[in-house]
C-alpha cells in the first residue's frame, strides 16, 4: 500500500467513524488534493486489497473489518485527550483509599460517558482464586452475615438465617474450623473439601451438624456461581449508535450482554490492548470489543469497551492506555 492509499484509507475510516455514511470520491478531493477520478481508482484498488467495501454497486465506500484493523495497526495516532476528562479520571486514582477494582469501575463508568460506548469490568473468574478468609458476623440471634474473602481481594457477603436447633456459637465455631483447614483452597475445590475436611470435624461437636454443614455449603455454592464480579458502565449507550437502529440488532446485542456465559468470554490475559473487530468480537458483525487485562496488588481482571466497529479507536485506545498507566503506579 502506497502512502497515498494509506492517507486515503485514513480519511475514509475517519470520515465514516464521524458520520456513519459511506464515503464517496468527491467528498475527499479537498483532503487528497487530487481529482475524484484518481480517488476512485485508488479506492477500487483498496477494495481489491480487502480494506474497503461497498454497500451496493454504486455506493460510496465503507471500511471493512480488515480496513479498520489496518487503520488501528498502522495509521492511527494517539488522540489528544480532553483535559477535563483526564482530570476526572486522575482524581479517582489519586484517591488512594479506593481499592483498585473500585477505582477501575468508576473510571470505566466515566469512560462510558465520554465515549458513548459500553464498558465492562470483569473480575478474574473465582475458580482460580483461593479462599482467604471466612467471617461470621452475628446480626441478631437468628441471623448472621457470612463474609467470604478471596485471594484476589474480592469480598462477598451473604445474609443467612440460622436453621432452627442451631445457635450462633455453633455457626461461629464452624467458621473457625473452616478457617483453620480450608484457607488457601481454590474456590472451586471448597465444596468437596467441605465434605471431607469439615463435615466430620463438626459432626463431633455440633448436634445439628447437617444443617450447619449445608448452610455453609450454600454460602460457597452461591459464591461460586456468582456473576457479581461483572460490572457494566453505560449499558444502553450502544443504543445511541446509528448502526443499531434495527430492533433485532438491539435484541441480539443486549441479549448477549445479559448472558454471563458470553460476557465472561471477554476475559483476557494480555496486559496489552487487544482489539476484536466485527465478527471477531463474537457479538455482532458491527461490534468491536477492545480489551485489556490488569493486575496489581493482588487484584486482577479484564476491562473492555464494547462499541460499533465504527469506533473512535484512537480515543478508546488512548483512554485505556491512560488507565493502564494509572494502574501501574
Amino acid at each position: 500500500m502506497n502512502s497515498r492509499q494509506e492517507k486515503l484509507l485514513k480519511e475514509i475510516v475517519e470520515s465514516y467513524i464521524k458520520d456513519a455514511r459511506p464515503v464517496g470520491s468527491k467528498a475527499l478531493v479537498n483532503k487528497l488534493k487530487v481529482s475524484s477520478a484518481t480517488i476512485r481508482n485508488e479506492m477500487s484498488e483498496l477494495e481489491e486489497l480487502g480494506f474497503l467495501e461497498k454497500t451496493h454497486t454504486s455506493s460510496g465506500r465503507v471500511p471493512s473489518s480488515a480496513g479498520y484493523k489496518y487503520y488501528v495497526d498502522n495509521i492511527m495516532k494517539p488522540k489528544e485527550l480532553n483535559g477535563e476528562d483526564i482530570l476526572k479520571l486522575q482524581t479517582i486514582f489519586s484517591n488512594s483509599e479506593l481499592a483498585l477494582s473500585d477505582a477501575i469501575k468508576e473510571c470505566m463508568n466515566i469512560i462510558s460517558d465520554i465515549t458513548n460506548y459500553t464498558s465492562i469490568v470483569l473480575g478474574k473468574d473465582s475458580d482460580w482464586n483461593t479462599l482467604k478468609q471466612l467471617n461470621i458476623i452475628p446480626i441478631d440471634e437468628r441471623k448472621v452475615v457470612a463474609l467470604v474473602v478471596v485471594s484476589n481481594g474480592h469480598v462477598e457477603n451473604k445474609q443467612i438465617v440460622i436453621p432452627v436447633g442451631v445457635n450462633v456459637a455453633e455457626v461461629v465455631k464452624t467458621s473457625e474450623i473452616i478457617n483453620k483447614y480450608l484457607i488457601g483452597t481454590p474456590i472451586k475445590d471448597v465444596t468437596s473439601k467441605m465434605e471431607f475436611e469439615i463435615k466430620p470435624r463438626i459432626a463431633a461437636i455440633i448436634k445439628e451438624y447437617e444443617s450447619v454443614y449445608s448452610m455453609f455449603q450454600n454460602v460457597f455454592n452461591e459464591f461460586t456461581e456468582k456473576n457479581s464480579n461483572v460490572f457494566f458502565g453505560g449499558r444502553t449507550n450502544m443504543l445511541k449508535q446509528p448502526e443499531f437502529e434495527s430492533v433485532d440488532k438491539i435484541k441480539n446485542i443486549m441479549g448477549k450482554l445479559e448472558d454471563y456465559e458470553i460476557v465472561k468470554k471477554i476475559e483476557s490475559n494480555d496486559e496489552g490492548i487487544n482489539i476484536y473487530i466485527g465478527e471477531e468480537s463474537e457479538f455482532d458483525k458491527d461490534v468491536t470489543v477492545v480489551k485489556m487485562s490488569y493486575q496489581a496488588g493482588g487484584e486482577e481482571g479484564t476491562i473492555a469497551i464494547i462499541g460499533p466497529t465504527r469506533m473512535e479507536y484512537d480515543k478508546v485506545v488512548t483512554l485505556l492506555n491512560f488507565i493502564k498507566s494509572q494502574i501501574e503506579r
Copy 2:
C-alpha cells in the same frame, strides 16, 4: 355500564392482551352471541365512556388506559397459576436459610421468566435506616474491608487501602469508637455525627486522625449514595413485546430503567398491589407498572413488575399475591 358492555370490554381487553391487534366487531360475534352491528353500537358507547380507543377512524378498538383500569378493578378474575411455576417459587421460600430479600430477588427473577416482563426489587431507601454495626476486617497490612450493617439487614462491604502513616490497629480502634457512639444513628445523619462525635475523639489518640476520619467518611458517603439495593430481573424482556418495536421507544424505556432517580420513584409504601397504567407509570404511555411493598423481619422494600399496558394483569396480580402470602409467613 351494563353487563353486556362489561363482557364486551373483557373480551376486547383479553383479545388485545393476547394478540396485540386492534379488535373488530366481527371477531366478537361468537363470544357475545349478538350481531356485529350490535357490538359496534356498544363499542362506540364504550368509546364515549373513555374505555376504548381507535388507532384511526376505521380501525378496530383498543383498550384505553381507563379501559384497562376498569378491567383490572372490576372485571378481572384471579388466574389459575401453573403448578410447576408455583412449585419453583415455593421452593425458594421454603429454603429457610435465605434472607427474605434474597428470596424475593430470586422469585422475581423467575417471575420475569414466566411473564416476559421486567421485575425490580427496590430495597428501602437507606436514608431512613439506622446504622446497626460497623466491622473492620483486616485483609493484609495495608488493606481492610469495612462492613456496614444497616437496621434493615442490608449489608454493604467496601475494600479500603489504609492511608500511609496509619496502621490497622488505629483503623480498628476507630471502628470501635464509631460502634460505641454511632449505632442507631439514621444513615443520613452519620456523616454529620462523624464530624462532631468521632473526629474529636480520635484526634486525641491517633496521630494521622485526619486521614482515618476522611477514610471512614468515604465509606459512609459511598454507602449513602449507593444504588446497589436495586435488583433487576429480565431487564431486556421488554424488548420481546411487540409494542416496543420502535428503536426510540426502546431507548426511552431502557434509558429510564438505567436512571436510578427514575427507578427509585417506584418505591411504594402500600402493602397492597397498586397498578399504574400508561402515563401514570411515568415510563411510557404504553407501559404499566405493578407494585407492592413488603415488610417482614426487619427487611422492607418494594417489588414491581414493569411491562406493556397490554399486560396479563390477572397473572401478574395473582403471582404478586402469591409472593405476598409467602412473605407473610
